[in-house]
């Protein structure tokens, strides 16, 4: 009998799928659910992914999220920030970042809300988003899908979307946006956002109502795939035994 997956576990699968077929590159997940996803992908269908401990060490064994210093790491490499910058300019990386705002064309904002000169809310700053998005594949994870997060136009372009790709970008690919409601991509003629799948129990109508612009939808939108029994076991027993995923996505 197949166990029933929680919403957080479906999200983890959706995140894992972002790295399918990526081969031997660094997967850089930001946040708990993307981290569960990347480690799941590495343990199953994308075994060549290179994963860090979230700090400077490249770790070859499956590291549980939230593991303490007592957990023994098999260290296969070293990526301090300077090396990570070299590597991202080299292009062998696929990051999944957060986004306070994302818009129709995949522009992402983590810098500020309101005018940059005097923001209503100062956030993190652009971090590495401008460089990531013109150097290698980028995806986004938004655990609280709402019209405040999915906006017609972002207040500040940190990560570059499809309507602003500079001619000198090495590559530009916003592969997917994963939210607590569904999976979104830009596989449309004008690269505007499309619903690729909705999570089990979510309707396209609900997703549209929680989105601040009109989403593209092709016919019957499929459901995000459920985890297999083995994937569920890996999530629950190996990668996230403390269920930290549930604090990011409510059941």
């Amino acid at each position: 009998m197949t166990a029933v997956a929680s919403r957080a576990e479906v999200c983890a699968i959706a995140c894992a799928e972002a790295w399918r077929g990526d081969g031997e590159i660094v997967a850089s997940p930001i946040g708990t659910v993307p981290t569960v996803g990347a480690r799941l992908a590495a343990l199953t269908f994308s075994p060549d992914l290179v994963l860090t401990d979230g700090d400077a060490l490249v770790v070859a064994n499956p590291l549980p999220v939230g593991a303490g210093p007592e957990f023994s790491k098999v260290v296969e490499g070293w990526l301090p920030f300077g090396k990570m910058f070299d590597l991202l300019w080299w292009g062998r990386r696929h990051v999944m970042m957060g986004a306070t705002q994302v818009d129709r064309f995949g522009n992402q904002n983590i810098a500020c809300i309101g005018p940059w000169e005097k923001p209503k809310a100062m956030l993190l700053g652009v971090r590495g988003a401008p460089g990531n998005t013109v150097n290698h594949t980028t995806s986004y994870w938004i655990p609280n899908h709402s019209p405040r997060a999915f906006v017609e136009k972002v207040d500040f372009v940190s990560g570059v979307g499809y309507d602003r790709v500079p001619p000198s970008a090495a590559v530009h690919e916003i592969r997917v946006v994963v939210s607590n409601l569904g999976v979104f991509d830009f596989d449309t003629p004008d690269h505007s956002m499309r619903v690729r799948s909705v999570h089990p129990g979510v309707t396209v109508h609900e997703v549209q109502a929680a989105t601040g612009f009109e989403l593209h939808a092709d016919g019957d939108v499929p459901e995000t795939r459920a985890p297999t029994d083995e994937e569920l076991r890996l999530i629950r027993e190996v990668i996230d035994p403390q269920s930290l995923r549930d604090s990011e996505v409510k059941a």
Partner: protein
Amino acid sequence: MTDKRTTEADVVAELRDGMTIGIGGWGSRRKPMTIIREILKSPVRDLTVVSYGGPDVGMLCAAGKVKKVVYGFVSLDSIPLEPHFRAARQNGSIEAMEVDEGMLQWGLRAAAMRVSFLPCRAGLGSAVMEVNPGLKTVRSPYDESEELVAMPALRLDVAIIHANRADVRGNGQYLGPDWFFDDLFCMAAKRRFMSCERIVDTADLLKEGSEQTLKISRMMTDGVIEAPGGARFTSCAPDYARDEELQREYATTPWEEFGPEWLEMS
């Protein structure tokens, strides 16, 4: 042999209003906090601060020491948003140059290489190009179709960093997983000061780490301060972890209350 030992007070005595200072470390990790504390106590003001920012930037903003911050982010790591930096940005009391974190590295590297800019791809297409009207692009002389950002050199008057170990001659050692960009900060600056957890004999530097941990050469430093716990409350792996409780108190207490207490801590 030059003995470069000095004190926080002597370092800060060199600072002048309006100077540009670079601060090593990253977020809330290995920040030279005893030197920051001494700056807070001093009358110096109108500083331009270049940093992979954490509580160093937040405290300097809260204490009214800052004219401008050059940053890619300012964060306390375990607490994502820096409260005092946010307040300063939101009430418009500081100027800002916000760039990609890789652009920041490139600006320091350009200064270290003594060139006026280095080309990079990061920034293109993003709003970074709109809010920094001084940022220009450059066309490749080898490929007309390639237009890149000309990241200007970030030249520093003073750099301050914190290391795990050092000797009196100013060689510095990192025992944690990442030395961040401390070497570039020093190479981009006219005057360079390093605090450290412990000063050891030069002959003992390799007792705790390999030669690859000797990231700071004495050519890169003008002064060394022995400051055990000098990065607190930020982390200083492997000597100590971040003091999360003190950081939480810092982040949730008005500066008027926390500041005077913190200035008295040592």
